[in-house]
Symmetry: C2
Subunit: 518 residues, 2 copies
């Protein structure tokens, strides 16, 4: 089984169905199948062989999807590059995994060519609607000139892609996922009822990131329709939903916030949107409430996972976000293990802990990565006896619901007490003037660390720090409340996946000091 299986299936069961819509361009599965087999032929004629890496540095577009398929069809390995990275970071990752080709779009043609020249062995290809820069091969011309080749039919245990992880933890690592890893995730996701055959899915989250990839790969298997916009913006999303009757979307909570707080939300017909899957970072209860109120016909499904898990480990269905599930507090959990996954919580000695006890979340199943690219020691530390150690702190209740309390390194230890930043953020986010917040530990001579909040006000609102701290004291134990508040007008530093980079927020406070975990 491999990730092109779904394309072969779509060619059989849905050849005339709409595969992709990007702007005014629309293609059937038959057309996409033809283009994929041709571009795979083009890659072969450029000398790209089995297991060779093909890097992609592009905003969202339909050709990105073709590349995911064509690279696999050619037997090669895709390396989707984080578009938020600096040129130096990009160059680092490409020197790390040594691709032979770098595909760029209009937006990244210039930095891409600079990087390609610096590395020397990296052949650039331009894939977009604008003019192809000189000295660069054109995707469309290569495709038109190439003869279609048969599927390389990679196997379950062959490498399919290298996905560089975030940037929340310093130096990024290449996560190696096999065809079998990605297929296992696809089946887990479809078995949960997500992204079925009749999906009209909007790629609004960045296509380089595996959060969107979870939806994309599942849709590749079910054979639904892919609507693509270049990049997330609230009005672009609303326009695309209305125009194409989009029914499924994956967003990160920051995007949901921008969408539901947008003044024009009432001006669009979003009634087709039956489901929003969200993940990559937790969503505050306050935002969940606003979102459910703004989109009453839409189901909200949370997925928890990480790139190393291809990426989904647990799913929380809408019924648990509202009604009975809500009364039981399950909306605060990341849900339960998908059908092909096992989750357990372990202590510092790697021993499973009883229900309700906080420890490290570990996951096993066919979704666990092959390892980190050329980093055997880091792989051995992360994957022990088949169990991926996520670095997330959490607890499981007696019904198998997993409550993620924090990244273990984001936990705050103050006066000997553990404070989970997510819990405090949930309260801070309820403060009416707060649009976005992050809670971090900063050095304290007396307590070791103390709780500090960074908040961004809602448009036109002002956050009074004293009032915010008092608001917290009415709701949670004193030791959990922020002792200090920074109000910032500039956006938070974000990772490519839309996670707030707490490491960067912590940095100015900890310079020259040593924190228990970095």
């Amino acid at each position: 089984m491999n990730v092109t299986h779904g394309l072969r299936r779509a060619l059989q069961v849905n050849a005339g169905g709409v595969a992709m819509i990007c702007g005014d361009r629309q293609r059937t599965w038959a057309e996409v199948g033809e283009r994929v087999a041709r571009f795979a032929g083009a890659l072969r004629s450029l000398g790209v062989g089995a297991g060779d890496r093909v890097a992609v540095l592009m905003l969202n577009q339909d050709r990105y999807l073709e590349l995911y398929l064509a690279v696999a069809w050619a037997g090669a390995v895709i390396v989707p590059v984080n578009i938020r990275w600096s040129p130096a970071e990009i160059e680092d990752s490409l020197r790390d995994c040594r691709p032979s080709v770098l595909v760029v779009d209009d937006a990244f043609a210039e930095p891409g060519m600079v990087i390609a020249r610096r590395i020397g062995t990296l052949r650039p290809i331009h894939a977009d609607d604008g003019a192809t820069p000189e000295g660069v091969a054109s995707y469309e011309e290569l495709l038109a000139a190439a003869a279609p080749v048969p599927d390389a039919m990679r196997g379950t245990h062959d490498l399919a892609g290298i996905f560089y992880t975030g940037g929340t933890t310093g130096r990024s690592k290449g996560v190696m996922l096999s065809h079998g890893n990605l297929m296992a995730d696809e089946f887990n996701v479809l078995a949960e009822g997500l992204f079925p055959l009749d999906s009209i899915y909007l790629h609004a989250a960045p296509m380089f990131h595996l959060a969107n990839g979870a939806a994309m790969y599942s849709l590749m298997l079910s054979g639904g329709t892919n609507v693509v916009i270049r990049a997330f913006n609230p009005e672009g999303v609303m326009q695309a939903i209305e125009r194409h009757r989009v029914n499924e979307i994956l967003l990160v909570p920051t995007m949901i916030q921008m969408l539901v707080d947008h003044p024009a939300i009432g001006a669009y017909d979003l009634s087709s949107l039956r489901r929003i899957v969200f993940g990559a970072s937790p969503m505050s209860e306050a935002l969940l409430d606003r979102a459910v109120a703004a989109l009453p016909r839409t189901q909200f499904v949370q997925a928890y996972g990480m790139t190393e898990l291809s990426p989904i480990a647990t799913v929380l269905h809408h019924r648990e976000q509202v009604g009975e599930g809500r009364k039981l507090g399950r909306h605060r959990s990341g849900g339960r293990a998908t059908f092909g996954v096992q989750v357990r919580i372990v202590d510092a000695n790697d021993t499973p802990v009883p229900p309700g006890t906080v420890g490290e979340i570990c996951v096993s199943g066919d979704v666990v990565m092959m390892g980190y690219w050329e980093r055997p020691e880091e792989t051995a530390r992360a994957v022990i006896d088949g169990w991926m150690h996520t670095g997330d702190g959490g607890a499981m209740d007696a019904d198998g619901f997993v409550y993620v309390v924090d990244r273990i390194k984001d936990m705050i230890v103050t006066g000997g007490e553990n404070v989970y930043s997510a819990e405090v953020e949930n309260v801070v986010a309820q403060f009416p003037a707060v649009a976005q917040c992050a809670v971090i530990g900063i050095p304290s001579e007396r307590w070791g660390e103390e709780v500090h909040a960074v908040v961004m006000p809602r448009p036109g609102a002002t956050v009074d720090a004293e009032a915010l701290i008092a608001f917290c004291h009415q709701r949670i134990a004193g030791y959990k409340c922020p002792r200090s508040v920074d109000v910032r007008e500039t956006p938070m530093p974000m990772s490519g996946a839309g996670k707030i980079l707490k490491r960067e927020l912590r940095l100015p406070f900890w310079q020259g000091k040593e924190r228990r975990v970095n």
Copy 2:
């Protein structure tokens, strides 16, 4: 991944949920988990090791489900025995696969003990509510005395079960299915939306057969509730549905016919039954119409497959049985490949044929069996380059719908024309007085073969052969119409799976003559 994965998951997410209901006995997943681990311990203490076979010869009951789980938990291989077989056939199959244990119930204690004595090395265990016969170990006593053991954690490619095929083709073969085969089928089935977490499934089809197994294994993964009745009978099914609010069931068409034609059907509340999955043999349009009329709230989903495919290859959803799909004639198809399966149609040279052309249906994917037990030549003939050659004749349309026309050996060649018995049976079944029918080829000096119908009248009705033949001539081409009709008052000879044994119907006509395929 292995077939006990779902039990381990159920113990985590649904330990207090109802796992099994059998008569007045009800057990939670926690209780079942405890019993499974104990009986696995009992098997170990009897010397049953990894890969050893454990045969089961029982009517349906809750302990049958425990055995499927406990044998896998112990690392052993289950051999479910066909309860319709004669003692000689049972002995043959047990001598073939050499199990160390034979588990019997009240109904099969006597023949089971006779067979065990004859074979000598086969240790009988009695698992039922009646008195344990002398000289036989008791399941409940063994279980009570044993200590629970940890899951043997068999791997994807380890043998999970040997399932002897039908009897429609003479000497039966043991189909070896791995844990991965069965898990692949489970994921394919769940991805189609069948047998989800909230299922209350009624085991009415025989539990030894993999048609019921397809539902049972899927339910093992999703963790729903298993309601068990000893054996199919229409009133027993209706009572169980009403009493336990059953929402999912798998039946073979013969059972559906007995259900919907039963005079008491209006007396029961069957409103909970949201879906009937049917398979193992085709259902006539006439019966489908009666069934939809009798159960208007129930969805009818057809599955096509065979034991060698673990067992499902294609699924036809309710929307294709009625409305638009019906107008397109799709209700006559077996549906489309499940997500993890590829189907193709090949000619006699194993070359794929164009859409609409009849050939042999071939299937690839992780569901394809490991092979036939100790029959490497027959395995090599059936599985070529990963493609299972089903022996079924069929065609695929441009949308991937697979139309099964006949077992290749049941096709009738008359005057150089191919006649597919299923097509003729569909017409004969519409004749008002006909309850059940089979169309076979019988020898003809002039035409090679000629079309012959065997029919069973509906209760109280009489079938006029001339009128039936005239009825056919109004509906299908002359060469397809039966030239002769046998009306029989006794039931058709049936296989364990509820398939009419056409070989037996043909036998008296062909004695001493040679047919093109046996």
